[in-house]
């Protein structure tokens, strides 16, 4: 464990060098957020105060939080870097090093996104206050319970990404699968909470990664309940277990294939 913390620390410190680039990268975040906020303001403008049980204020905070999760954790290491490691056979060099490649990549990824995540978080909160003001009924004490949910969500998101990247062992180009995952999260998973989907689609969404990666954490911020917390944590636990198993098995199979073919 210690070495992974060390990898995390080193990459985090390195990322401080690129603060300026991160700030210039905000534009995309701003714009998406801006478009969505306009969209919701338009939709809420002349209708009743609640849609599917959400007030406009809650809805806008929901979008802000999910966007922070999406943009704050996006990173090339899990996608392009890992794919090119596999394609170029660099992964073979990493095999005889005294660490597990999977956990190495995750530590690096987390180190790289930490600064960015907090920058996005800060900016996102500012935008939220500017647009709709504070969130009614939000209690800071709950944060202690919500933070682990965010952490788990980020971890699961990382593992899911890696499951896709690892397909590169068998496939020419895993890029298109990442697009689809991206789109599922940003199009379906950040704009509306589960309750807004048609009834028949709701169970589907509840079983999808959206529930554990974006919906769960955001829902807990805008409308906390202990019952919800347990439900999300349970789902996250299951997802984490399954993704780790899948990725470990796929990695072993992939590496074996690499050995047989000699890279």
């Amino acid at each position: 464990m210690r070495k992974y913390i060390f990898i995390f620390k080193t990459t985090f410190l390195e990322s401080l060098q690129y603060t300026l680039n991160i700030i210039l990268g905000f534009v995309s975040f701003f714009v998406v957020l801006f478009v969505f906020l306009n969209l919701w303001q338009y939709i809420y403008a002349d209708s009743t105060n609640l849609i599917s049980g959400y007030s406009m204020e809650q809805m806008i905070w929901y979008v802000i939080i999910t966007e922070i999760i999406f943009f704050g954790t996006r990173n090339r290491t899990l996608t392009g870097q890992m794919t090119s490691d596999i394609k170029s056979g660099t992964i073979a060099y990493n095999m005889n090093k005294p660490y597990n490649y999977i956990y190495y990549i995750v530590s690096r990824h987390l180190g790289e996104i930490t600064l960015r995540f907090f920058l996005y978080l800060g900016i996102g909160i500012l935008i939220g206050y500017h647009f709709v003001g504070g969130l009614a009924g939000f209690q800071a004490v709950n944060l202690i319970l919500i933070v682990p949910v965010f952490l788990l969500g980020t971890l699961i998101n990382s593992f899911l990404r890696m499951c896709i990247s690892i397909l590169s062992f068998w496939m020419e180009d895993a890029g298109p699968y990442h697009w689809i995952y991206d789109k599922i999260i940003i199009v379906v998973g950040t704009l509306f909470p589960v309750e807004m989907f048609p009834d028949w689609a709701q169970p589907l969404i509840k079983f999808s990664p959206i529930y554990v990666v974006t919906y769960g954490p955001a829902k807990l911020v805008i409308d906390f309940s202990m019952e919800m917390l347990w439900r999300v944590l349970l789902a996250q636990g299951i997802y984490l277990g399954i993704t780790i198993i899948i990725i470990t098995v796929m990695y072993q199979k992939g590496v074996k294939k690499l050995n047989v073919n000699g890279g």
Binding site: L16, Q17, T19, L20
Partner: protein, 328 residues
């Protein structure tokens, strides 16, 4: 007629000085600091039509910058350039029809296509009619023996075959001047020899003027009648190969194997480089001692073997780089 005329050519670069860290990158955006580098410093020379000229110098001497100014890629700060009586920076497009370029490591061919398709593409770029292109490809194919692989995708060719095609592709429009920037870099000796043959043949068949930069002394020695050496942006030598050799080759290296040790240390004009038993290596300065006089000093009856050679060109050039001054 002169193919290339260069007069008092100069080029300065500004290079950004970047400080480290966050603060550094902040301040470099707000107020970047530059330092000036004089890449080419007041050089003048001329090249005759049909000539093969070697333009050499150590890394960063200003070779590529000069080539870029001759081909219209870069504009000079000062001085005049004319290639086939065209000013490259004023009439870049017009010049492009008359010159060909091969930049050693940068590939211009489409690697997934066959050389044949590539040649057709370059033909189209130079506005050649399809029938003309066909004829030209046939001619080049025969002259440079490409039949074997003209229909194999470039990515499946060996490095040597690929460079061959790179050069031939730049000949599709019958350029009058060809700029070759390190054409033999990274090739094995046999392939190098092949490429040199190709360049020679091209020069002979089409009277193409060749402007060649290279680190490889072999290229220069085997191809060029004239050599220009640049260092720190200046011309340190501009001379014919023959002249160069004549002036610099006033040293001969004599290696002899004698039955017993002989002592030459006292002789004027002879430096003993190595002496071990009967094996001797001597450097003879022919301005001080004629070679036949030197040979007379060696007792022929006592001699087992002898070998007389020139100082290798490579050593001469290294010497010139080091001294970095106009010697002749």
């Amino acid at each position: 007629m002169k193919a290339i005329q260069v007069k008092n050519l100069s080029k300065t670069f500004k290079v950004k000085v970047k400080e480290k860290g966050f603060r550094g990158s902040m301040s470099s955006i707000i107020k970047p600091r530059y330092k000036s580098i004089l890449a080419v410093d007041n050089i003048s020379f001329e090249v005759e039509q049909g000539e093969i000229l070697a333009f050499i110098g150590p890394n960063g001497a200003g070779k590529s910058t000069t080539i870029k100014m001759l081909t219209g890629i870069l504009y000079p700060n000062n001085g005049e350039v004319s290639v086939m009586n065209i000013n490259p920076c004023a009439k870049r497009k017009q010049l492009a029809y008359k010159i060909g370029t091969v930049f050693g490591q940068k590939e211009q061919l489409w690697t997934h296509l066959t050389p044949y398709d590539n040649f057709k593409f370059f033909g189209a770029i130079y506005d050649l009619a399809d029938t003309v292109i066909e004829e030209r490809i046939n001619e080049l194919k025969k002259t440079f023996e490409l039949e074997e692989f003209i229909n194999t995708p470039v990515r499946n060719l060996s490095l040597g075959q690929r460079i061959r095609c790179e050069i031939v592709a730049s000949l599709i429009h019958k350029p009058e001047v060809l700029f070759l920037d390190e054409p033999t870099i990274g090739l094995d000796p046999v392939v190098k020899e092949n490429i040199r043959e190709l360049i020679k043949k091209m020069n002979r068949e089409y009277q193409t003027t060749v402007f060649l930069t290279s680190h490889d002394v072999g290229d220069i020695e085997k191809l060029c009648k004239r050599i220009i050496i640049v260092n720190h942006g200046r011309i340190v030598l501009d001379d014919s190969m023959e002249h160069l050799k004549y002036h610099y080759l006033n040293k001969k290296i004599v290696e002899v194997k004698m039955k017993e040790t002989v002592d030459f240390t006292a002789e004027e004009g002879i430096t003993v480089l190595k002496s071990k038993g009967g094996n001797l290596k001597l450097a003879i300065d022919t301005t001080k001692k004629k070679i036949n006089d030197a040979l007379r000093l060696i007792d022929a009856d006592n001699m087992i073997d002898i070998n007389i050679s020139n100082v290798p060109l490579e050593n001469i050039i290294t010497e010139i780089y080091r001294e970095n001054k106009v010697l002749l």
